[in-house]
Point group: C2
Chain length 231, copies 2
Amino acid sequence: SLVEGLAGLLRPRDFDGVAVTITAGPTREALDPVRFLSNHSSGKMGFALAAAARARGARVRLVAGPVALDTPVGIERIDVESAEQMLESVLAGPGDLFIGCAAVADYRPGLPAAEKIKKQEARITLELERNPDILAAVAGLAQRPFAVGFAAETQDLVVNARNKLRNKHLDLIAANLVGERAEGRGFNSDYNALHVIWEGGDDALPLMRKSELAHRLLDRVRARMPNGEKV
Amino acid sequence: SLVEGLAGLLRPRDFDGVAVTITAGPTREALDPVRFLSNHSSGKMGFALAAAARARGARVRLVAGPVALDTPVGIERIDVESAEQMLESVLAGPGDLFIGCAAVADYRPGLPAAEKIKKQEARITLELERNPDILAAVAGLAQRPFAVGFAAETQDLVVNARNKLRNKHLDLIAANLVGERAEGRGFNSDYNALHVIWEGGDDALPLMRKSELAHRLLDRVRARMPNGEKV
C-alpha cells in the first residue's frame, strides 16, 4: 500500500550487508505417500520477518515449509517439506542472523511406508522418532550466527520460553501464546503479540499486525547483535 | 472466463432440483493444540465438483476441511476440521446425491491433549483409534442418497477401488493414482485422471483439468442415478 511504501522510506537500512536466514511455516512428516504429521502454522510471521529484514537492507534466504503465501519481493525462497530437508537447507547458508520461525514437527514416523498403508484395526500405535532440532543445530555451529528462536506455548509462556532460550543456547527468543487462551492471534491470523526474551531481560510487544511486529522484533535483534546499538 | 461462461450455457440442467452434498479437502486430527495428523489434499477436485453440480442446476452443500480455496458462487459451504465434525455436518443433510471427495484421516489420536505436549524422549508411540467412515455411514442410511466415493491409491488402482466400492456399498467410485507413479496429477495439481467404477462396469477418464473432469464424472453419475438416462 501507499502507507507501507512511505513507511518503508522511513525505515532504517540497519541490516545493510547482513545475511539473514529465516525458516517459516510448518513441516510435514510423511507416514506414507498420503498421510502426514504436521503443525498449525500459516507461515505469515516468518514471511513478514523476511519482508521486513529485506526492507532494512538484509540479504534474505527464506526456507519455507508448505504454505499458501506469495514470496516477498527480493527474497531467495527455498521450499521444503520435512524437518530434515529444512535443516539441510538451513545449514547450507545459516547467515549472520538466523531466525527459526518455522513450526518444526518435533517427531516423525520411524520409517515412512512406500505404499499407502492399509489398516483395518480399530486401534494402532505409531512409532515416532525425534526430529533434528534445527535451532539447537544452528546455535551449536562453530561459526554460529546470531540465533533467534520462536516458542509457541499454551501455558507458562515466559518460563517455558526462557528454558528454551537456555537449553538451545539462543541469543533471543520470541514467545507467543497459542491455543484457546490466544484468541485473535497466532497461527492463521494477521495479528500476534510476542514476548521477547534474552539473557538478562525481556520485553512485551502487544497485539499488532505481524508486518509491524516483525519490525519491532528486528529492532530488538539489531540492538543485541554484534555491532548493534543498545536500545 | 468467457469460454467457461459460454460452455456453461451449453451445459445441461440435468441436476435441477437435486440436493447434492460434497465433502472436500483433508481433515485434521488434533494431537494437541499445536500438532495434528492429516492427509495431502488441496480440495480442488471437490470444489470443482461443487461448481459443476451447481452449474447443472443442483443445490449444493460443500463440507470442506481446511483448504486455501474460494467458495464457488451459489454454494452453501460448511467448514470443518476433524472427521467427526465432517460426519456430523454430512449427516445433517446428506442430500439426494452424496460425493465423498474429502481425504478423511482414517485414524485420530486416542485423546488429544489440552496443553501442548512436552516430550524429550528420542522415541515415542502414539495411540491412534479408527475414525468414523463417512462414506460407509452415508451409504448405510435407511434413506440413503446415491453414494459416490473416491479412492486414492498408490498401487493396484482398479482392484483396490472395486473392493472399496463393495465393502462400503457405494453406487460408484472414482479412483485415482497418487504418490510417485502419479506425476502431474492429483493432490495440489489442477489436473487429474480418474478411473470410474460401478457394479458391472468401469470407464477410464484420461488426464484433464479438474473443472472438466468434474463434468465428465457428473455425466456418469447422472446416467446411473435413479431417473437418470443410460449413457
